[in-house]
């Protein structure tokens, strides 16, 4: 009796949880609540496609297994009509065993092929593009634009969203132009960190003594939060940064403002375009 009651409550609670998750929660700025952030680069899109391919395969396998399991639980339970003597004694079925070995091997090959294509797309650095250096340290980031002679600016006011829970957070901007290949050179000066921007689909470890590379090409202007993703000490959770994607006119303006602030001559737009590897 108790068991029946508890299992009923269990089923109801699980169902309620699912419904609550599906309907009640809203995630601002996430077009895909409960999934990846909306991809904002071909890199992130490639990852999302690879994920979808594998995800749906795992869903089919998962439903198959859970379905058979549930069927067996209800169909083969012991009852007044089904005593112990009803249990069959078989313990082999060679054709079946061959089938459920071969099919998973084929699925593995399919997933490997799909992932292989994505892997080499993501890992081949584009020839044209602008190099930006990200240097991680306990507990912040520095961004440098070696071909423009400038660095990122300090944050001048607390980040609105990230400070909403009562902790004032000054978050540096990584400013990039829309539509250009951004080639990141990522390193660290003290311990391991990781450069992670979910909406761009990039994550790579920042390792002292090594320079790691990732690239992305932002498709829409806006602000996209990035964060350190490798445990790096007491304030690891505070290592936010903000990828500020500007349209091309704003970007040229921003570059020249920074150049003037650093005591350099403004750069002609054409020259900035050459550095970016695109046309303006």
């Amino acid at each position: 009796m108790i068991t029946r009651f508890v299992s009923l409550v269990a089923a109801l609670m699980l169902a309620a949880t699912q419904v609550a998750i599906a309907t009640e929660m809203k995630f601002d700025g996430l077009a895909h609540p409960l999934g990846f952030q909306t991809p904002n680069s071909s890199v992130a899109t490639t990852i999302a496609e690879t994920y979808d391919f594998i995800f749906w395969i795992t869903v089919v396998i998962g439903l198959l297994v859970e379905g058979v399991l549930l069927y067996a639980i209800f169909r083969f339970r012991r009852s007044s009509k089904r005593g112990v003597e009803k249990a069959k004694k078989f313990s082999h079925n060679t054709p079946l065993e061959i089938v459920w070995t071969i099919i998973p091997v084929i699925i593995c090959l399919a997933i490997t092929w799909k992932a292989y294509e994505a892997l080499f797309y993501l890992k081949r650095m584009p020839e044209k593009g602008m190099t930006v250096e990200a240097i991680a340290y306990q507990f912040n980031w520095d961004f440098r634009y070696p071909d423009l002679g400038i660095t990122g600016a300090e944050a001048d006011k607390p980040h609105a969203e990230l400070s909403s829970a009562g902790v004032e957070r000054y978050v540096k901007d990584l400013v990039v132009p829309v539509g250009a290949n951004i080639k990141m050179d990522v390193t660290a000066v003290d311990v391991l960190h990781a450069f992670f921007v979910p909406s761009m689909g990039v994550k790579v470890d920042a390792i002292p003594g090594r320079v790691n590379h990732v690239w992305f090409n932002a498709e829409r202007p806006g602000d996209y939060i990035g964060q350190c993703a490798e445990l790096c000490g007491g304030a690891h959770g505070e290592m936010f940064f903000n990828v500020k994607v500007l349209d091309k006119a704003d970007w040229v303006k921003w570059v020249n403002t920074r150049r003037v602030e650093s005591g350099l001559q403004p750069m002609p737009a054409a020259e900035i375009a050459t550095v970016m590897g695109t046309t303006l």
Binding site: I2, T3, V6, S7, A10, M13, A20, D28, L30, G35, F36, T46, T50, Y51, I54, T58, G62, V65, A72, F76, R77, R78, R82, G83, K86, A87, K89, S91, L96, W100, P104, C108, I111, A115, A118, L119, F120, A165, G166, V167, D190, V191, L192, A194, F196, P198, V204, D205, P208, R210, N212, A229, E230, L231, C232, G233, G234, H236, G237, E238
Partner: protein, 543 residues
């Protein structure tokens, strides 16, 4: 498989003193006592590791800092939890659950049942067995003591990646105590695995050929080999860390020509197989439990054995799937990725075989069977999310996020923990002669089942949405799901009190079990409950 256990009472009297005091347990060489002590130790450290998890979930319940950075006074002293303290909690939660709860729990069950299941009076090296047990609680205590030294416990994750763990960034002695604790736990584990291998290969009763051994014995044998091969490598990694910290070497120090990534390779060469050390014995237990309560022989026994061996061999070749973001050659990533996918094949075979064992059986839903069925259903989720994690391109997005936390908890909680529970409810009557309360067991099962899913399932979403792991505060968009996880975690933690009450109450007051309460066919069900001092009055002959 059947056996003849001839029980003519021929005045072979018990050597055990009637009252068992501390000295008895300190010096006992009886595998059954040692097995129980392992289980009790595992339970204690499970509680400690669980409390650490409660701290983590309390801090993460809402956006903003809940426990951290809020000074509070106890008498004349003022304390404040720092970010470092939060890191100590995550590091020690994993360390205690892995090295001092899950692994010892399986070794405890193995210690008690492997000798009986193969028809042996004891382990091959009973004194070594005593020694490998007694190292363990003290290495756990050493780790705990690190909370009280200057600088506190190590707070660099259970993975302890340098340079964060180098002398410059973790200056206190806590890190060294962690390293020595790992050395001791590793020594215990290596000695224990030698004992298991020798016992299984040399102490089997006449007629008990290798391919007649119950699947649990097979799984412990393969696990022991994995421990023997992999644990010394972990010892090597932490020894290099120790000398880097204290004796001026530069294995992992780039300023001296070393490489921090080297540590990760060596560490994961142990720590990926460690996942199988923590799941293969569970596979063995589940095979025993499902066959018994389906009233059918295990489906595909031979393929089950080869699947375990296959998983173990492949498991030693995939370590760098934890390191896809370190900037490895894509061709190497490709190989590690493909090998990891392949592990899905033998794992799938095991799941299908369990389903086929239940098929057309007569299922009896004892608490043990409930845990076993939940294992099959939920471990499958952990296995499938493992395929997702193993795809290198997808891993660039979910590595070091809560997706990985969700995945590993569906492996260690839905996998290891549920299988340990299936084993405990199944074998408790054999160990103590009394049945555990099925009613309380059933409530324990259902609450555990609900709360573990409430705790760990939303973590998949958090990870996909981009919440990194090991952070005490987060982007406020993640707060709803985090609150759900925390509610689940507190429920899950509180539920385990039922297990403790049930075990301690039933050991004294439970219904008498008799020698074979479940109708099992393996050798342990042919001796009395609890089994006599040397298990068998005469060595059984297996036909």
């Amino acid at each position: 498989m059947s056996a003849e256990a001839i029980s003519d009472n021929h005045g072979h009297h018990d050597h055990a003193p009637s009252k068992k005091g501390f000295m008895y347990y300190l010096t006992t060489t009886n595998h059954k006592d040692i097995g129980k002590m392992y289980l009790l130790t595992a339970l204690n450290f499970f509680i400690i590791g669980g409390l650490f998890a409660m701290f983590i979930r309390a801090e993460l319940a809402e956006a903003g800092y809940q426990l951290l950075n809020h000074p509070f006074s106890v008498g004349p002293f003022t304390f404040s939890f720092s970010g470092e303290f939060f890191n100590q909690m995550t590091a020690m939660h994993a360390t205690f659950m892995i090295f001092f709860a899950i692994i010892p729990a399986f070794i405890g069950l193995g210690n008690f049942f492997v000798p009986i299941m193969i028809g042996s009076p004891d382990m091959a090296f009973p004194r070594l067995n005593n020694w490998s047990f007694w190292i363990l609680p003290f290495s756990g205590l050493l780790m705990l003591l690190s909370f009280f030294v200057p600088g506190g416990a190590p707070g660099a994750g259970w993975t302890s990646y340098p340079p964060l763990t180098s002398a410059a960034y973790s200056p206190g002695p806590g890190m060294d105590m962690w390293i020595l604790g790992i050395h001791l736990a590793g020594a215990s584990s290596i000695l224990g695995s030698i004992n298991f291998i020798v016992t299984t290969l040399n102490m089997r009763a006449p007629g008990m050929t290798l391919f007649k051994m119950p699947l649990f014995v097979w799984s412990m044998l393969v696990t022991a080999w994995l421990q023997l091969i992999a644990t010394p490598v972990l010892a090597g990694a932490v020894t290099m860390l120790l000398t880097d910290r204290n004796f001026g070497t530069s294995f992992f120090n780039m300023a001296g020509g070393g490489d921090p990534v080297l540590y990760q390779h060596i560490f994961w060469f142990y720590s990926h197989p460690a996942v199988y050390i923590m799941i293969l014995p569970g596979f063995g237990i589940i095979s025993e439990v499902i066959a018994t309560f389906s009233r059918k022989p295990l489906f595909g026994y031979i393929t089950m054995v080869w699947a375990i061996i296959g998983i173990a061999v492949l498991g030693c070749l995939v370590w760098a799937h934890h390191m896809f973001t370190v900037g490895m050659d894509p061709r190497a990533q490709m190989m590690f990725m493909a090998m990891t996918f392949l592990i899905g094949v033998p794992t799938g075979i095991k799941v299908f075989n369990w389903l086929a064992t239940m098929w057309e059986g007569v299922l009896e839903f004892t608490t043990s069977m409930k845990f076993a069925i939940a294992f099959v259903g939920l471990f499958t989720i952990g296995g499938l999310s493992g395929i997702v994690c193993a795809a290198a391109p997808v891993d660039y997005q979910i590595h070091d996020t809560y997706y990985v936390v969700a995945h590993i908890h569906y492996v260690f909680f839905a996998g290891s923990f549920l299988s340990i529970m299936a084993g405990v409810y199944y074998w408790f009557p054999k160990m103590f002669g009394r049945l555990m309360s099925e009613k309380m067991g059933s409530v324990h099962f259902w609450l555990t089942f609900i709360f573990m899913n409430v705790t760990f399932f939303p973590m998949h979403f958090l990870g996909l949405m981009g919440m990194p792991r090991r952070i005490p505060d987060y982007n406020p968009v993640f707060s709803d799901l985090n609150l759900l996880c925390s509610i689940g975690a507190f429920g899950l933690g509180a539920t385990q009190i039922l297990l403790i009450i049930n075990a301690f109450w039933s050991a004294k007051h439970g219904k008498l079990a008799g020698s074979n309460p479940w109708g099992g066919h393996t050798l342990e069900w042919q001796v009395s409950s609890p089994p006599p001092e040397h298990n068998f009055e005469k060595i059984p002959v297996v036909k």
